[in-house]
Symmetry: C2
Subunit: 243 residues, 2 copies
């Protein structure tokens, strides 16, 4: 692992890159301890602060973890699904908010992906996920629920649906698509009637999942997508008219 001191790139970026490559390529295996900061500084011929900046970059991506003390140091981290989830959610959320992605585009992506999960979820969902879905449906029917809480419950409902597929890779990929929509959904104000129709569709989907009917679940999701888009279109049209 070498770096080029004459490159225009930051030394810390180059060092981080070199170590990252080592991890991705499998040269550094999980839980392996990296050399100490002093040794890395020696090895790369840079100062310790520079090495530290590189290590912080890797820590930000959950690629390493550090531990203080006698047997401490930086260790290659086993990237957990949980860590990956939260990174995905942050990245997806910012991606949508910073790139003027239209509501329709995000919505289409989200429901297309969710429909991909539905048949698997119908086949495999456990009682746990079904209970969560029913609980969230109940919550959504409570009067006096704020729009934010309604949206949060909506996300929880859909996550349960996705988790029902019992495929962690799928759950991970979907986490971003579902959660990143939340800020967009929060822009919508739901009337009591809107909530009623969403609730009905949620129930329909939950019923389909319960009776292991994948096709019905897919149909329910499609109906929900249409409803959501119609709702959003109304809100945006009303806002445009006000001006």
């Amino acid at each position: 692992m070498k770096i080029d001191p004459n490159s225009p790139a930051d030394l810390s970026a180059q060092i981080a890159s070199a170590i990252r490559d080592g991890i991705v390529a499998g040269l550094l295996i999980v839980d392996e301890r990296l050399p100490s900061e002093a040794e890395l500084a020696e090895q790369f011929q840079v100062s310790r602060p520079t090495v530290r900046e590189a290590l912080k970059r890797l820590a930000a991506q959950s690629l390493i973890r550090t531990q203080r003390g006698a047997t401490g140091g930086a260790f290659v981290n086993r990237l957990s699904f949980e860590d990956a989830y939260s990174q995905q959610v942050t990245t997806s959320t910012l991606l949508l908010s910073m790139n003027a992605v239209s509501f329709d585009t995000a919505c289409e992506a989200r429901y297309a992906l969710e429909r991909a999960c539905a048949p698997l979820s119908a086949a495999r969902r456990s009682a746990d996920q079904l209970a969560t879905m029913r609980a969230e449906i109940f919550r959504q029917g409570q009067p006096g629920l704020t729009d934010e809480a309604f949206c949060a419950s909506d996300v929880a409902f859909h996550r349960a649906l996705v988790d029902g597929a019992h495929n962690p890779v799928l759950s991970y990929q979907l986490a971003g698509a579902v959660e990143a929509m939340q800020p967009l959904m929060n822009m919508i104000t739901f009337t009591a009637r809107d909530r009623q129709s969403i609730l009905a569709l949620h129930s329909q989907i939950a019923d389909a999942i319960e009776s292991c009917d994948g096709a019905a679940a897919v149909a329910g999701l499609s109906a929900l997508e249409e409803e959501t888009r119609k709702l959003a279109a109304d809100v945006f049209a009303r806002r445009a008219a006000k001006r």
Copy 2:
């Protein structure tokens, strides 16, 4: 934005968190310049190296970019789809390799997601994507192609299929699922006959996309999934038998 000096967490992690929250919450907008490192150090009551470590953490996530010189500094970065892609690919790849995800699980997720794209792609694909798909099919038929090159071409084919949906959010989400499979696929050795059958299915899918037949494309992908899983199962069975 405040930090707690008595928290067990690193100061640089806390500072990074505080700034990240500011960005996600929209308090800091795209291209806005953060205070200089010296000012941040003053503001958070820490030293400049600590501030720098925090900034490097954010830079690792492409949340900020830094510029040297008189009007330089750290600026909130517009997270591009490109940046997000590569992060997703790295994360997904490591996630699969570090968590002993079975071939079947990853494969199932990948094809489920791809099938979600197929109808959209059939409806919207441009000549560009079709040409790429045909070109990759041609490449895959060339004799003397290494297994690695065959897999890389396979990825390119599927990316074109996904991009055909013309939904950047979908493309972004799928990038991880498709590319992260590559290392797993590379473990398989493809006989000439294997390649032939995959090629035939690719052609079938391309035909379906060309004739805007989403259902046929979905069917083709399902057949391809089955073929891929059978191939992998054979390889693994043969390896197990050898021991």
